[in-house]
């Protein structure tokens, strides 16, 4: 299942960052991809819509929240966890 989710998450991030999906590597930090706080909120929204999950993300405290957004891999892992919990 996770093999299927990871590329979808990368595609969402690439679309929001307006870059080619090949440029989104697992160790990329999201701000290094040119994403600001509004871009992050839109990514969270797109993930929730695509996977039918609720992402516990608060823009006031993005670094220490229940959902790690420090890197692309962290976001992928978080989405996999949420999808697994839902199933």
């Amino acid at each position: 299942m996770s093999d299927d989710i990871r590329p979808q998450v990368r595609a969402i991030i690439a679309e929001q960052a307006m870059i080619d999906v090949d440029q989104v590597t697992q160790d990329s930090a999201l701000d290094a991809l040119g994403l600001d706080s509004l871009g992050l909120v839109e990514i969270v929204f797109a993930i929730e819509e695509q996977f039918g999950v609720t992402v516990p993300y608060n823009a006031n405290d993005p670094s220490s929240g229940e959902f790690d957004i420090s890197s692309v891999k962290a976001v992928e892992d978080g989405v996999i966890r949420l999808v697994t919990e839902k199933a």
Partner: protein, 404 residues
């Protein structure tokens, strides 16, 4: 130059209905935030708000009146009736044409909009109530106040999100000072605790799930509120001639645009608004003892506002008291500035500075005296009240204790 004084105020808020209940809450540092009871909360991620639970519509309006008045208009009218009564002002035929009505509201009749969207989109109804438009329009609160009190001078509504009522009060102040009116009924009202509005705010990811903790290192975002605060402003000689009790004086108003970002605040825009307000008041800054902050308890606002205060006041910033009463009455959006002017006037008139409630831990990025948790009895000669709106529209008022 014509001087402008405040002679009346009325309030509906989560702290209570009526000025006395509201300021008692401010003095106690009481937090009006709790579970939402006004609407069904199933499906809301964040089911808390500063709801005006003491406000019972049928205590104030009969059934026919409620048919035409959205909750936002009801709250505006309730606060306006109290403000006019407390001021003792008599609206004669001559004064009626010289009295303005300028009311801030960000979203207008949201309950009317939400209820009627449900009818047509969810329930598939073919028609809505014939008075839907006059109930939901944003100028309804201003229009109803002008009608109920027979105020025939300039009247309009102001919509600048979280700065709406500071812009409204500031425009009323400038209008009276410049001779365009002799009195004004002004302030703001907001009642946006609807499913649709709360979902929209949830989407922005800036709302707290627990409570509003401005300037605290542990802050987790803003909490929505509802309510209204209305003031009666009068030209000083007019108020003096009729022997009115003067609550305080408005002496400066500054407004700026960040011209920067639709949601991120700007230190420069906030600082320029405070400087413009001080210049309008012909003050240098060191006279100010208290600032009622915008203080939304978002990460971005609070540190940006504190940095702007330091930029404007320099070393004097360490002598300032800076509190956010949103910690008690929530963020009432279009009513925020007016509710906060009531707290500012309390500091000037009663010598009681309202605290920042729910404060837990100092934040090095907000290293000002934020009057944590407990009100302070202290003489305040001059005070500032900040409002900084989404969209980068800033409005700052300067008020003075009346003692001559």
């Amino acid at each position: 130059m014509r001087r402008v004084v405040v002679t009346g105020s009325g309030v509906v808020s989560a702290l209570g209905v009526g000025h006395a209940a509201h300021v008692a809450g401010l003095r106690e540092g009481r937090c009006g935030i709790g579970p939402i009871e006004l609407i069904e909360t199933e499906g809301l991620t964040i089911p808390i708000a500063a709801e005006a639970k003491g406000y019972i519509a049928t205590d104030h309006f009969n059934r026919n009146e409620l048919t035409l008045r959205d909750r936002v208009t009801q709250m505006a009218l309730t606060a306006a009736a109290e403000a006019v009564a407390r001021s003792g002002i008599e609206i004669t035929d001559a004064l009626a044409e010289r009295t303005a009505t300028i009311i801030g509201t960000s979203m207008g009749g949201q309950h009317t909009q939400d209820d009627n969207y449900k009818l047509i989109y969810r329930e598939g109804k073919q028609r809505v109530h014939p008075f839907t438009v006059p109930k939901l329009m944003s100028n309804a609160p201003a229009s109803w106040i002008s009608m109920e009190h027979g105020l025939k001078g300039p009247a309009w509504s102001v919509s600048t999100a979280c700065a709406s009522s500071n812009h409204a009060i500031g425009q009323a102040f400038h209008l009276i000072r410049s001779g365009g009116a002799d009195a004004a009924v002004t302030g703001g009202a907001e009642s946006g605790l609807t499913f649709g509005v709360l979902k929209a705010w949830e989407g922005l990811r800036v709302m707290s799930k627990d409570t509003c903790r401005p300037f605290s290192k542990t802050r987790t975002g803003m909490v929505q509120g509802e309510g209204a605060a209305i003031l009666v402003l009068e030209e000083f000689e007019h108020a003096k001639a009729r022997g009115a009790h003067i609550i305080g004086e408005i002496i400066g108003f500054g407004m700026t645009a960040d011209a920067n970002d639709i949601v991120q605040p700007s230190q420069d825009g906030a600082a320029r608004a405070m400087k413009a307000a001080l210049a309008d008041a012909r003050l240098g800054g060191s006279e100010i003892a208290y600032i009622n902050a915008h203080g939304t308890a978002t990460a971005a606002n609070d540190k940006t506002e504190c940095a702007a205060i330091r930029q404007v006041f320099g070393a004097h910033a360490d002598a300032l008291m800076v509190s956010s009463t949103k910690s008690m009455h929530g963020h009432c959006i279009g009513a925020a500035g007016a509710l906060e002017m009531v707290a500012t006037l309390m500091a000037l008139h009663d010598g009681v500075v309202a605290p920042t409630a729910n404060f837990e831990e100092p934040d090095p990025e907000c290293d000002l005296d934020v009057v944590p948790n407990t009100a302070r009895e202290v003489s305040v000669p001059y005070a500032l009240s900040n409002s900084f709106a989404f969209g980068g529209l800033n409005a700052v008022l300067v008020a003075k204790r009346f003692d001559d």
